[in-house]
Structures are given as C-alpha cells and as structure tokens.
C-alpha cells in the first residue's frame, strides 16, 4: 500500500516537474554559442545582443559556457571540416529537447565561403537545424527575432508533445561526419 502511494506521488511529481521544466525553458532559455569557423562578425553581433542597447536578458536568455546546460545552440559560421566532428559532439552533449539556430548566410548554405576546400556545405549537413537567421551578419534585432521564433517553436513543440509533428527536415538524417 505504501509503495503504491509512493509510486503515485512520484508519477504526479514527475508530471508536475515536467511542466515546471517546460515552463522554465520557455521563460528562460539558456543558450550556448559555438563558433564553427565564423569570421567573427556573427559572434560580435550575438555578443552585442547581450549588451545594454539590445539586452536579450529581458527575455530571460542567458549565455552559458557549456552545452550541457544549454537549451539552444547558436552556431555561427560555415562549419570547417576540422570543426564538424566537434560541432556534432557539442550537439550530442546537449540535453533534450535541444534546439539549434544557424546564424547568417554561412550557416544556411556556406554563404561567401560556399565551395571552399575546407568548408562543409552548411550547418544542417552536420546537425539538424531548427531556425535559420539570414544576413551577413544578421543585425542584433534580427538575431533577437530569430531567438523569439525559436521560443515560439519550442512552445508549439510542447503542445504537440515533441518535434515529430514538424515535417522531418532532410538534415535529420545527417550521417556521422567522416572527419
């Protein structure tokens, strides 16, 4: 009888803690920035977002140093071949549900670096990407808009109980990098 009660309370608590975690995730997403071979332009614009004029902390967004604490991975740059396996490893370390934002023209398709001998095709050829932010580099307001888009996506995913409702992007089948 005691054990039944205990398991019931654990079940209730688990539901509650899940809801609490989801609520916290939407209200205060933690991000980690990974430079996969960018020219620094996107990086300084992301950091400009944290500073007084743009101040993304008003959306509860905090930058964390380790991917293990992060909900959103912001990838800058056109993934160099040497960074591809590292990017994959960083992404694997993130706890579920994980979201990826690819910054700038390079992140979407190589941009000005498309076709260079040490550059991958795009971020999505290494890890699945949820939100792309265009521009070279995107302005801080565009970055903020991209992060808010990602948060809305997160909310919708919670309502649908996972990411499966979205059409699975081709990148989801991205094979293990050969590097």
């Amino acid at each position: 009888m005691i054990s039944e009660n205990r398991s019931l309370s654990i079940m209730i608590n688990r539901g509650l803690s899940q809801r609490l975690a989801s609520w916290a995730r939407v209200k205060s997403p933690w991000i980690t920035i990974f430079n996969s071979g960018a020219c620094n332009a996107c990086d300084i614009e992301v950091i400009a977002c944290l500073t007084p004029r743009f101040d993304v902390e008003r959306f509860g967004i905090l930058v964390k140093g380790t991917p293990r604490h992060a909900d959103i991975l912001v990838v800058t740059g056109p993934v160099t071949k040497k960074q591809a396996s590292r990017l994959r490893r960083i992404w694997e370390q993130m706890p579920e549900p994980k979201y990826v934002i690819a910054m700038g023209a390079c992140g979407a398709g190589g941009g000005v670096f498309r076709g260079l001998y040490h550059v991958m095709e795009s971020v999505s050829s290494v890890i699945p990407v949820d939100v792309y932010i265009g521009g070279c580099p995107p302005r801080p307001d565009e970055i903020i808009s991209g992060v808010v888009t990602c948060l809305n996506l997160l909310k919708e995913d919670l309502d649908h109980g996972g990411k499966a409702w979205r059409t699975t992007p081709a990148s989801a089948q991205a094979t293990e990098e050969t590097v």
């Binding site: 990974f34 430079n35 996969s36 071979g37 960018a38 020219c39 620094n40 332009a41 996107c42 990086d43 300084i44 614009e45 950091i47 400009a48 500073t51 007084p52 004029r53 964390k64 140093g65 380790t66 991917p67 740059g77 056109p78 160099t80 071949k81 040497k82 960074q83 590292r86 960083i90 941009g111 000005v112 670096f113 076709g115 260079l116 001998y117 040490h118 550059v119 070279c136 580099p137 302005r139």
Partner: protein, 393 residues
Amino acid sequence: MARVIVPVGPQHPALKEPVNFRIIAEGETIVGLELDVSYNHRGIEKAAEQRDFTRVVPLLERICGICSHSHGTAFVKGIEEIMAIAVPPRAEYIRTIIAELERIHSHLLWLGVAAHEIGWNTLFMWTWRDREAVQDILEEISGNRVNYGMNIVGGVRRDITPELNKAALDRLPALEAQIAGYVELLKKQETVLLRFQGVGRLTREQALTYGTVGPTARSSGVEYDIRRDDPYCAYAEVPWDVVTDTHGDVYGKTIVRIGELRESVRIVRYCLEHLPEGDITVKAPRNAPTGHALSRYEAPRGELSHYIRTNGTDKADRLDVRTPTLANWTSVAASLVNQNLADIPVIIAAIDPCLSCTSRLTVLNPQRTSSTEMTWEDLRRRARELNRERERC
C-alpha cells in the same frame, strides 16, 4: 613539482573563438604553452585566386568580421598599385574615416573583452554601450554594422553626404567624453590596476625578437606604425601621433589602445571636416598587368600585409595574407611563462587575438622542385603522425 598539462578548447567558456591550448603548468605557475589555431581554416587564399577583383573583395572582408575594412583596403590598395591607378582624394579620405571608426570599435570591443576576462563585467557593458555610437556612424555611412563593403578597386562604393557628415560629427563629442572617462578610470581603478599591472610583461627586446606588431609592440616601447612609417590613404596629410608606452604588460597594452582611441577620434574628425570634393571612384581596368605588390596596412591589431601576384588576367595569381595575430602569437607564449594560471585569459586577450584571421596552412619544403597536391586523406595522415610524435616526446 610534477608538470600538469591543462587542455583548453576548442570550445570553452573563456574562448570566443575556436583554438586549442595545451598549457603546461607546475602547480599554479605556467611553464609553457602549445597551441593549435587551425580550427578556423577555410581556404580563403585559394578561393581568392578563383574570383575576379570585384567579387574577391567581399570574400576578403570576411577573413575577419572585426577588421573587415582592413583586409578589403589592403587588397584593393595592392591591386591599385599594380594597375598604377590613382584613387581620388575623397575616396582616400572616406577609406581613412572607415578605417579609424573600425579601430575605435575594435579597441572598445577589446577593452570590454579584457574587462570581462578579469571578471569586471560592468566595464564590458559600458564599453559595448559606447561602441554602439560607432556602429551607428558606420551603419549610416555604409549601410551595415559589420562587414561594411565600402571598398572597390578604384575607390569606394558609397559617398559621405553633408548630412551624414554632420550626423557623424555630432556623435563624436559624446564618444570623446566617454573615452576621457576610460583614461581616468585606468589611472585609479583598483580592479584594473591589480589585474593588469605587471601581468604578462614583454620587454622591448622580446617584442623585437618575436617580431610583434601593433599595440603589442608599441606597448613595449617599439615605435612602429605603418600609418606613419609607410603612409597610405590619407594618413600623410592628417595630423596625429603614434601612441607608445614602456610598461609592456597588459596595463601598457591598455594604455596604448585607449590612447589610440583618442587619436582615432582626432583623425576621424579631421577627415570629416576636411573631406575633399570630387569623385569617389575612378574607372579601373578589368585586368591587372603582370606584376606583384606587397600592400601593408595598420589594422587595429597591428601590421597586416597582403602579398599579391597578378598574371595579366582579372584574377589574382597568388594572394598571401599575413595577419597581425600571427605575428603576435609567439610573444604570448613568452609572456605567459612564470605567470599565474588564473591570468591566462587576460594575457592571451591582451594581444587581441583574432583566430579567423590567423588559421593558415603552410607546407614548408625548401628542396621541393615540382608542385604537389595534398588530398584531405594525406593531410589527416600527416596530422595523425605529428600528433603521435608529440605524444611520444
């Protein structure tokens, strides 16, 4: 005491860019440093040989987003030298204005990063707030906050209209007042003094031995500035002074950079007030004659040089970029020795490293007679062998 190797990077909270350090420490004291800066290698020099002079400038600007104007200007300056065309004075002045605005934004950015590395985030927020004034001027003039796209062979792409000129001049006094505030702050702020003074010292001899450039060299008393020693753009006509210091430590580097902020504002003001009338471009020929040029440029981090060889077509035959960070890296290893483990971030940040500039591939083989091609597999095998050798010794 036993030696410990502390690996840092390529992804690490203290790093803004991918780099791998192997810091060899005895207790809390650093005895050596090994580094791998190749994570950002993209192959831009090779790609530059395949694009014509109009299309290569946007690519070169993206070698580095912080000093993008430096790379663009250094390249077009070299090509103009080979083509023997004279750029209109108005274009030279506009290039100088953008270059100095870029220096201000880069140095303010650096000051913020250095403050962040010593754990004083308030100063980081202050400098980045003030930096926005410069970003506004740059955006008004060029249409973009970063990667301005101003250069073209034969001149600049956008003019500074009288309205833009006035708007920029109006923003300068507030910026100047903030910079004056930083000068005062540097004299008496205890956090800065404790963490900057005597940390990562580089003597004048060391600075010369390791071939340092830019603020790193100038803070050790080496008076070397391309803008004065090999003037380009409008620098020969503008009154300004080279800022040097004799401390050699992080404190000295901060003094030099803040001094340069004031000089840069002075140059920008002079150029805006004395902007010559006339065209902003001359028509450049499509092809460059066979020849070569070494184009030197004082980027925010030091001397940047582009070696360009042309072969009579509309593309460069060979482009070789030597960035200031590459020149300054070896001095970091020297200034880290015998320092405290906790001072690593600020000592490394002191040279304002820019890794996207620096990742380069060079294969040295003086006995080589024919050209060889290395495949991706060859390179990986070579890297594995090198790593094994390093592990063994």
